[in-house]
Amino acid sequence: MDISRQKAEQETLQRKSIGFWIYLMTDCVLFATLFAVFAVLRPGTAGGPSGADIFDLPFVLVETMVLLVSSFTVGLGLLAARYGYKRQAIAWLVVTFLLGITFLVMEISEFRHLIAEGDGWQRSAFLSSYFTLVATHGLHIAVGLLWMLVVIIRLIRFNFKHTDLGRLSLLSLFWHFLDVIWIFIFSIVYLMGSLS
């Protein structure tokens, strides 16, 4: 491939990276809005439970650890990919994927428990905003997992091209971003909620 073509491809990758960072910024605004809604509606418990009544902090702590570790493993996967170690990259990505699934399963079980107790999203504005904020994060995780699956499959079937490496680094960026959002959720929703 000639020089100008290479340069053009590099510029394209750089642009995609910037575009993705900017997309993450808009996603930040999205989550900020959901946090604002949560903050406003938190007192609206309508005679139903508040955060202190329903949050199981030890459980959530395990969830958080799972997600944090998965951030670490996706980083390892990216490093391995950058250095050309295909098998390690796939392995670490699979571990990340499994950790992500674990997180989601735990979250869904938490939701199911609440719904079974009659504390679903219909009960009050507080519960509506809790479920929506946490589920929106969960939805993003699910999208990330789908993306991860696609990357893993492509890694297995084709050797990396720089486009795949580019996609993987954007995915790991996304994953870290979701981790950061989770920290906020953990602190603002669960921790602060349990204290009041």
Binding site: V40, A46, G47, G48, S124
Partner: protein
């Protein structure tokens, strides 16, 4: 020769046509506004009086910018039109620090003045502020319904639908709520508007300068019959007001919680009605209806009312 004559006559035609069009437009406006009432500019209540002054001041300040803009626009466009070879042509002219300072600076000063006026007037004309007067105020509780207005006089146990009789030169203290989608209580001749919302009690005060009839409306749509929600405010002398209260206390219509619930059903074209209020603390019940989880129709006869008066007040709510 013939071409320039054609040009001149075309120019003349242009001027004539534009003048005629301009005159026609002005004429149309005059025809359509003659003799009609403009309560915002011609108010009849102490609050609306002050709002009118505020409006005129704002226009006056704004004119300081708008008039120069128009003059400059037409003067410069005309003088530097491409046909005018006498005007200087300076294609590289890219700015002027002096002029920039002028048109960043002067509007800044005007806005500064307006900002001070805003800060003062917003606090002075806060709808939650009570009107100072030696006359004792009359309290009225307003409930926006689909698609009529309910007015309750809590101290006199009278209620009306779609009309409000008030004594002139007396402060009227309104508490406003809704048992319907969001509405906006507006009597332009007397004061500006305030939203009427379920589960909340907003406040407004006004005082009529003189006896008269003033139209009110709901300035926020709440469904099909929104435009039906006009009502009359009748300002009468204090003696006439007592007479009206006395007469109304003989009204055959009773407003209990049950009759209220029937009234609150969606309906159009209700006209004016007068009630004697038999239900206890109706207004607070209506507000509280939206505060309880789940249950909505049962009145609460316990002492939740005190809680309501303090908690449902909208003043200072930082949203």
């Amino acid at each position: 020769m013939r071409n320039s004559k054609k040009r001149v006559s075309w120019r003349v035609a242009q001027v004539v046509i534009s003048s005629l069009v301009g005159l026609a437009i002005v004429g149309a406006f005059v025809w359509a506004t003659q003799g009609r009432d403009m309560p915002v500019l011609n108010p009849k209540g102490i609050i609306a009086d002050q709002q009118q002054v505020l409006i005129l001041i704002t226009v006056g300040l704004g004119v300081f910018v708008v008039v120069p803009v128009f003059i400059l626009l037409f003067a410069i466009a005309f003088r530097y039109r491409v046909g005018n070879t006498k005007a200087k042509y300076d294609p590289e002219l890219e700015g002027s620090k002096v002029l920039e300072a002028v048109w960043w600076g002067i509007p800044l000063i005007i806005i500064l003045i307006l900002a001070i006026i805003t800060a003062i007037s917003t606090h002075a004309l806060d709808p939650y502020k009570k009107i100072e007067s030696s006359t004792a105020p009359v309290k009225v509780q307003v409930v926006a319904l689909q698609w009529k207005w309910l007015f309750i006089y809590p101290d006199q146990d009278i209620a009306t639908v779609n009309y409000l009789t008030i004594p002139d030169n007396t402060p009227i203290e309104l508490s406003i709520t809704a048992d319907a989608p969001m509405n906006s209580f507006w009597v332009p001749a007397l004061a500006g508007q305030v939203y009427a919302m379920t589960g909340m009690s907003t406040k407004l005060s006004f005082m009529a300068d003189a006896p008269g009839e003033y139209r009110g409306a709901s300035a926020n749509i709440s469904g099909e019959g929104s435009a039906d929600m006009s009502f009359m405010v009748r300002s009468v002398s204090k003696t006439d007001f007592s007479h009206w209260l006395y007469k109304s206390s003989y009204s055959p219509n009773m407003l209990s919680w049950d009759t209220y619930e029937k009234l609150a059903q969606p309906s159009r074209g209700d006209g004016e009605k007068t009630y004697v209020v038999t239900g206890k603390d109706l207004y607070n019940q209506i507000v509280m209806k939206y505060m309880d989880s789940g249950s909505s129709s049962q009145p609460h006869t316990n002492t939740q009312t005190d809680h309501t008066m303090n908690g449902m007040d909208m003043s200072g709510m930082g949203m």
